[in-house]
C-alpha cells in the first residue's frame, strides 16, 4: 500500500535541507533590520556602522532618546488613540453588521455597497478634504481628529456581517422565544460566537493604528495629540544629520510594546485568524 520511496518528495515527507536553508536565509534577511536596530541601540555611536563583536555595550542611547523628545506623552497619546479607535470600531461595526446580517429592509444592499466603498477608498486618500472637515469642526490637533475617520470600519462591518450570517438562525429564534429583544440577542448570542473575529480584527486594528503615520502627521501639530509615529519621524528627521544610535534606540522604545505583545501571543494571533475564518 505504501509506495513511498526516497526519490520523489512526497506530501508526507519532512521538508528537505534545501527548504530549511532557504527558509532560514529568508528569515535572517527579514530580521536583519531589527537585528541592526538592536545592535546599534545598545552600542555607542562610533559602532553604528562598524560591527566589531567586542564593542562595549551602553544604555546611553536610550537615555538620550528618552530625553530628546517627550516619548512618555507620545506613548500616552498612542495608547489612548488606539484604544479609543478600537472600542468605537467594535461597537459601531457590531451594530451595523447585525443590521445587515439579520434584517431585511429596503435599501439594505445600497447601504452595504456604500460601506464597501470605504474598503478601497480609505480616509488616508482623502487627506485634503478630511483635513478641511476637521478644521471646520475645530478639532485639529486632537486625538479625536485622528480617530474620527476610522471609527466606522468597513473592514470590520464586512467581516462581522459574514460571521453573523454564518450563525445558525435557530439560536436567534431560541433567544427570541425567551423574550430577548434584538439588542439582547445580539449581545447574548452573536457577540460571544464571533469572539475569534473580534480578536483577529482587534489585532489588525491595533497594529494598523499604532503604526499609522500620514494622517496623524497632517492633523496634529504639537505634542498634544502627536502619536509615536509622528514623534519618531519628527525626532529623527534627516536634516539634523542622521544619528543611528539614538534613532534605533527610539525605534526600539516605540515598537517594544507591539513587538513584545506579538512575541508573547504569536500562537494565539495565528489561531484567532484561523478561527475567524478569514478566507
Amino acid at each position: 500500500m505504501n509506495a513511498a520511496h526516497a526519490a520523489p518528495r512526497l506530501v508526507w515527507n519532512d521538508p528537505t535541507w534545501l527548504d530549511t536553508l532557504a527558509a532560514w536565509l529568508l528569515a535572517l534577511l527579514w530580521i536583519l533590520p531589527l537585528a541592526y536596530a538592536v545592535w546599534t541601540a545598545f552600542h555607542p555611536a562610533a559602532f553604528s556602522t562598524r560591527f566589531q563583536l567586542l564593542a562595549p555595550l551602553t544604555l546611553e542611547n536610550f537615555a538620550r532618546a528618552w530625553e530628546a523628545a517627550p516619548f512618555a506623552r507620545y506613548f500616552l497619546n498612542t495608547t489612548l488613540l488606539v484604544a479609543m479607535i478600537l472600542a468605537l470600531q467594535l461597537v459601531l461595526s457590531t451594530l451595523a453588521a447585525y443590521a445587515f446580517a439579520r434584517w431585511h429592509f429596503r435599501g439594505r444592499d445600497v447601504a452595504f455597497a456604500l460601506v464597501l466603498v470605504q474598503l478601497m477608498v480609505m480616509p488616508d486618500i482623502l487627506l485634503v478634504e478630511n483635513y478641511k472637515t476637521m478644521a471646520r469642526l475645530g478639532l485639529v490637533d486632537t486625538l479625536l481628529a485622528i480617530g474620527l475617520p476610522y471609527f466606522a470600519s468597513a473592514f470590520a462591518i464586512f467581516l462581522l456581517r459574514q460571521t453573523f450570517m454564518g450563525i445558525p438562525k435557530e439560536l436567534d429564534e431560541a433567544a427570541r422565544m425567551e423574550g430577548a429583544s434584538a439588542l439582547q440577542t445580539l449581545w447574548r448570542v452573536y457577540v460571544p460566537l464571533a469572539r475569534p473575529v473580534y480578536t483577529a480584527f482587534a489585532l489588525v486594528s491595533v497594529s494598523y493604528h499604532w503604526n499609522n503615520f500620514l494622517w496623524p502627521l497632517i492633523v496634529t501639530n504639537s505634542q498634544n495629540a502627536r502619536p509615536l509615529t509622528v514623534g519618531l519621524q519628527v525626532f529623527s528627521s534627516v536634516d539634523q544629520g542622521v544619528d543611528w544610535s539614538v534613532i534605533t534606540a527610539a525605534t526600539l522604545m516605540t515598537s517594544a510594546p507591539l513587538l513584545v505583545a506579538f512575541l508573547l501571543f504569536q500562537r494565539q494571533f495565528v489561531q484567532s485568524f484561523m478561527r475567524a475564518g478569514i478566507k
Binding site: 556602522t49 538620550r64 468605537l88 483635513y131 486625538l143 439582547q184 519628527v234 528627521s237 534627516v238
Partner: protein, 432 residues
C-alpha cells in the same frame, strides 16, 4: 437592560470626548500663552538649549508662558505652521526658513515687525542685525522676519587626510581650480578601483538649491530678484556653475548621484570624504564627533567669493491676539539679545545674528579659542540672499528637480536648467 445601558454609556462617552478635548485646550487663561514651532536642521541637543531659553525668559517675564514645540525639518515646520494657520489656530510665533517669507505674506499669515518697534532701545535692537541676514527678511519696505538661527555654507576639511596626501594641512583650496586639484589628490581608490575616499562632497538631497548657490554666487550669478517674482536659471554663469558640479562627479572626485544631506557629516567622520560643504550650523556637532583635526574655511571662489545665507527667522502670526503678539515680540527680542545670540552660536555653530553678540565676552573668548567659529561670520560681507520667490516651495522644487536631474546624468546641465526656468516662469506668472 444591560444592552441599553451599554449603548447609552457608549453614546455618552462619544459625546464627552469632544468636550474633554476642547476643555483641555482652553485652560490657563491667566497667562499669555505663546506657542512656537521651531525646526532643527543641525545635529546636537538643540531642543535642550531652546527649552533652556524658554525657561529663562519665563523667569524674567512671569506673565507669559512660552511653549517651544519641536516640529522637525524646515519643510515639516512650514507645513505644520501653515496647516495650523489654515485651521484657524496658528502658533503665535514660529521659526521658519527666511525664504518662506513670500509664501507667508501671500497666505496672509504673518504681521510685520515694524508696528512693535516703539522705544529707542527697540529701534537700536531692530537695526542691530547683520545686513546680510535682513536680505531675506524684508519686503515692500517692511520687516517680516527677525533673524535667529542663521548661517552660511562653509567648507570643512580633514587636516589629517590632507597631510596623508602630501598637502599643506593649513592651506585649504580657495578657488574652483584649486578645489578640483586638491580633490583629485585626496581621492583614494582601493585595489579594485573602487573609491574609498572622495576628495570633495557637496550634498544634493533635500535642498540642493542652497548648496548650488555656493557655486552660482562665486560665479557672479544671482538666481532670483529681490521681489521674488523673477528667476534666472538659464543664465550662462548658472549653467557653468552646474556643469562644474557635474564635472566633479564625472572626474570621480565627488560621489556619484544625489548625495544625502543628513549623512554628510557622518561621511566626514567616517573619512569617506576629505572636504565637505555644509552649514556652519553643523560646526558644534562636527567638533564634538570628528575625532581628527579639521579646518573650516570660506567657500572657494571663482569670479568672486561668496555664499548664500541660510537658516530661520522668527515670524509673528496674524491670527493671534494682540496680547499674544506683544508677548511674542518680547520673547523674540529677548532671545536675540547679544548674550543669548552668543550662547546659541556657541551651542550650534550658527552665526550670531548681530555684531554686538560677537563683542560679548563669551563669544570673544570662544572665537579666540576656536577660530573656525568665526569663519561663517567673516563670510557675511560676500554673502547673498538665499533663493526665495513667491510660491517658494514649488519654484524651489522645480530648481531642485533640475539640479538632481543634472547630477544623476538624466539631463545635461543646460537642458536641466532651461526646463527648470520654463517651469518657474509658468509658476511665477501670476506674481509679476
Amino acid at each position: 437592560m444591560r444592552r441599553a445601558d451599554f449603548l447609552r454609556a457608549t453614546a455618552l462617552n462619544l459625546l464627552a470626548l469632544p468636550a474633554l478635548w476642547l476643555s483641555a485646550s482652553s485652560t490657563a487663561q491667566a497667562q499669555t500663552e505663546v506657542q512656537f514651532y521651531y525646526p532643527v536642521a543641525v545635529g546636537g541637543p538643540i531642543a535642550k538649549t531652546i527649552d533652556g531659553f524658554a525657561e529663562g525668559f519665563m523667569k524674567a517675564n512671569p506673565g507669559i508662558k512660552v511653549t517651544p514645540i519641536y516640529a522637525g525639518t524646515y519643510q515639516e515646520t512650514i507645513v505644520k505652521a501653515l496647516t495650523a494657520h489654515k485651521s484657524g489656530t496658528p502658533p503665535v510665533t514660529s521659526v521658519l526658513l527666511s525664504t518662506d517669507m513670500f509664501t507667508l505674506i501671500d497666505e496672509d499669515a504673518i504681521v510685520p515687525f515694524d508696528g512693535f518697534v516703539k522705544t529707542a532701545e527697540d529701534k537700536a535692537w531692530f537695526n542691530g542685525f547683520y545686513k546680510a541676514f535682513m536680505l531675506n527678511s524684508q519686503s515692500g519696505g517692511k520687516t517680516w522676519g527677525i533673524p535667529f538661527q542663521r548661517s552660511t555654507v562653509v567648507m570643512y576639511w580633514n587636516k589629517e587626510l590632507f597631510k596623508e596626501a602630501g598637502l599643506d594641512a593649513n592651506k585649504p583650496p580657495t578657488t574652483w581650480a584649486e578645489l578640483k586639484d586638491v580633490a583629485t589628490k585626496l581621492t583614494k581608490k582601493d585595489a579594485s578601483g573602487k573609491v574609498t575616499q572622495y576628495g570633495v562632497q557637496i550634498p544634493s538631497s533635500g535642498f540642493p538649491y542652497w548648496l548650488f548657490q555656493t557655486l552660482t554666487t562665486t560665479n557672479g550669478a544671482i538666481l532670483a530678484n529681490d521681489a521674488g517674482s523673477q528667476v534666472k536659471f538659464d543664465d550662462p554663469a548658472v549653467i557653468q556653475a552646474l556643469q562644474y558640479w557635474v564635472d566633479l562627479g564625472k572626474a570621480g572626485v565627488h560621489p556619484p548621484g544625489v548625495v544625502e544631506w543628513g549623512t554628510t557629516p557622518k561621511d566626514f567622520f567616517e573619512k569617506k570624504a576629505a572636504i565637505i560643504y555644509t552649514t556652519t550650523g553643523n560646526l558644534t556637532n562636527i567638533r564634538k564627533n570628528a575625532g581628527f583635526d579639521f579646518g573650516v574655511a570660506m567657500i572657494p571662489g571663482n569670479k568672486q567669493k561668496g555664499s548664500p545665507t541660510g537658516g530661520g527667522n522668527f515670524y509673528i502670526f496674524k491670527k493671534s491676539t494682540p496680547a499674544q503678539q506683544e508677548a511674542a515680540f518680547k520673547f523674540i527680542q529677548w532671545i536675540t539679545q547679544p548674550e543669548r545670540a552668543a550662547q546659541w552660536s556657541i551651542d550650534t555653530g550658527y552665526v550670531a545674528v548681530s555684531p554686538a553678540a560677537y563683542e560679548t565676552a563669551t563669544l570673544k573668548k570662544y572665537g579666540s579659542e576656536f577660530p573656525p567659529a568665526l569663519v561663517a561670520r567673516d563670510q557675511l560681507p560676500v554673502s547673498v540672499a538665499e533663493f526665495s520667490t513667491h510660491d517658494n516651495q514649488r519654484v524651489t522644487k522645480a530648481l531642485n528637480d533640475g539640479l538632481q536631474a543634472a547630477l544623476t546624468g538624466a539631463k545635461p546641465a543646460d537642458q536641466a536648467m532651461k526646463d527648470a526656468q520654463r517651469e518657474a516662469e509658468r509658476l511665477l506668472r501670476g506674481f509679476k
